[in-house]
């Protein structure tokens, strides 16, 4: 069956921009998430400097985060206003995180 035909019919709710992914697409995203987690765990066991390891782990984590938010939580397909609300919360959390860490000179040692 063509993938386009498999796409699940989205509920007819206001603010819903497009159809949600099919079950097959969800499984594909799930497998990618599993592989990325495997890479994270493998990377943590490699004998590499923190300057390489830590950014690598952060990048893998951000990719996983975005895959879940965009595909499983449907922000890629839903009205952009939902994304704006969530990004506002994330930006607030990131700002809080940076202010706390800078205030206590975590970066300066």
């Amino acid at each position: 069956m063509a993938e386009t035909e498999e796409r699940a019919t989205a509920p007819h709710t206001p603010g819903h921009a497009g159809s949600h992914p099919s079950a097959r697409e969800y499984v594909r995203i799930g497998l990618i998430l599993a592989v990325l987690t495997g890479l994270e765990v493998t990377a943590s066991y490699l004998d590499v400097s923190g300057a390489i390891l830590i950014p690598t782990l952060y990048v893998l984590s951000i990719i996983k985060f975005l895959l879940v938010v965009m595909w499983f939580m449907h922000l890629k397909f839903d009205d952009r206003r939902y994304s704006r609300f969530f990004v506002m919360g994330l930006a607030g959390a990131a700002t809080l995180y940076l202010i706390v860490l800078i205030s206590f000179r975590v970066f300066g040692g």
């Binding site: 509920p11 992914p21 799930g30 952060y58 984590s61 609300f85 919360g89 959390a93």
Partner: protein, 206 residues
């Protein structure tokens, strides 16, 4: 064999004053506020990381392979959650119940694993008041565990309501709302797993 109900009907029950369903908008605003809660808890953990003079230290107690399995379990539960939603959107009630129940069971495995992990850590001398690591670690992961537990209760409630036929014919909307919450606890764990477990902790007292 799956129960396939009558074709989906348009529902005008989604109240809105903004063009978006109020319930879904409220859920996203709630999740945005939860970002601030977990942002604060993660900041506290990072702030005090490596500042303890006395152990146990993270390297003394963490079992990365064990926690990796827990992470896989939680990620798998996110997949089964969206499969439940896909089934609900196709009005396949039996399959929706099956995936919701599977998600709840995977969530229970995760929480059970966390309780077991906490028990081991406690036996190794790490209590919530032992040192800064114990305080920030148990507070952060404990709050997350409570969120997963609430999610499990919501999932089981959905299954119960479905069996009691108290869900609307188009059950996709409530399943989607519970799913948003469930995926949120998953993305929080994605961050916790990296920041707390995988990123190496500086040397004690450093």
């Amino acid at each position: 064999m799956a129960d396939v109900a009558a074709p989906a009907q348009q529902h005008d029950e989604h109240q809105t004053t903004t063009g978006l369903p109020n319930t879904k908008l409220a859920m996203w605003v709630f999740l945005a506020s939860e970002c601030l809660l977990f942002g604060a808890l993660i900041s506290a953990y990072v702030l005090y990381r490596g500042r303890d003079e006395t152990g146990p230290f993270p390297s003394d107690v963490f079992d990365i392979p064990y926690t990796s399995v827990s992470s896989f379990v939680l990620l798998a539960s996110s997949l089964t959650m969206v499969l439940a939603l896909a089934a609900a959107q196709k009005l396949d009630v039996q399959r929706m119940r099956l995936w919701l129940l599977t998600t709840a069971l995977l969530g229970m495995s995760f929480v059970g694993g966390q309780v077991y992990e906490f028990t081991l850590f406690h036996e190794e001398g790490l209590a919530i008041d032992t040192n800064l690591f114990g305080t920030t670690f148990y507070t952060l992961t404990g709050f997350h565990g409570v969120h997963v537990t609430v999610g499990i209760l919501m999932l089981l409630s959905l299954v119960g309501m479905s069996i009691a036929q108290r869900l609307p014919p188009d059950a996709a909307f409530p399943v989607e709302m519970v799913g948003l919450y469930w995926h949120f606890v998953d993305i929080v764990w994605i961050v916790i797993f990296t920041v707390v477990y995988l990123i190496p902790t500086p040397a004690p007292g450093g």
